[in-house]
Symmetry: C2
């Protein structure tokens, strides 16, 4: 059984001028309609607590470390991401929680859709219903 | 006379769980076909030194500070960006150099086109020729 997420490698170009990480061409599973980044989160703080009905997301940890919980109704997994790890392509219908593992962690997220409150599932009850209907 | 760049404000959502910065909908001047971020650059190091023939770029400083030099053949400007400032939409035909002002500075760039070496102008001589032809 395949979970509704997969890892995505950014290209990395390292030299004495620093590190360049690139998502380009076929590595991008969609053209982002929304881009956001999260900074200044205290260590052990958890954000997220929602799923998307139709939106895909691509998450990369740019600094520090983030533990990403992913739950699609059957598989419940935690994946630790960091600047040295791949990112995660999260497909629709996955409940997500992100725990920031260090004070200076930064998460970058690309979304396949512009913001729409209707796309969010923000309660566990609503998520259970969504999972049942999707079966 | 208008330069070939303009500032772009990300939406900012600040609360006790951290800072969320968002580019969404009409704020995005194009759908990004390439996304990259630069980390680990030493203070006072300068990167860039090229222009694009057709590609647009959107640059945001996610951490630290970056001084961005922009030169379109007429206007030569330096703009300091930081997490508290707007980002910059750089249009085609602008020579760019980015000087990292702090050791831990991070630059995020969204590009309107996938990577193509043909789109890069990497020498001042070639840039002068491009500017002359564009007149």
């Amino acid at each position: 059984m395949q979970p509704n997420w997969r890892s995505v490698d950014a290209q990395t170009f390292l030299d004495n001028r620093g590190a360049l990480k690139v998502l380009d061409g076929p590595v991008l599973p969609f053209l982002p309609q929304r881009v956001f980044w999260v900074t200044g989160v205290s260590k052990n703080e958890t954000r997220g607590f929602h799923a998307h009905r139709t939106g895909h997301q691509l998450m990369f940890c740019i600094q520090g470390g983030v533990s990403v919980r992913l739950f699609d109704g059957l598989i419940d997994q935690k994946v630790a991401i960091s600047p040295n790890s791949p990112g995660i392509h999260v497909m629709p219908g996955v409940w997500g929680e992100q725990t920031y593992l260090e004070d200076d962690s930064i998460l970058l997220v690309l979304s396949s859709i512009a913001f729409s409150e209707d796309d969010y599932i923000r309660s566990k009850e609503e998520f259970e219903l969504f999972i049942q209907q999707a079966k």
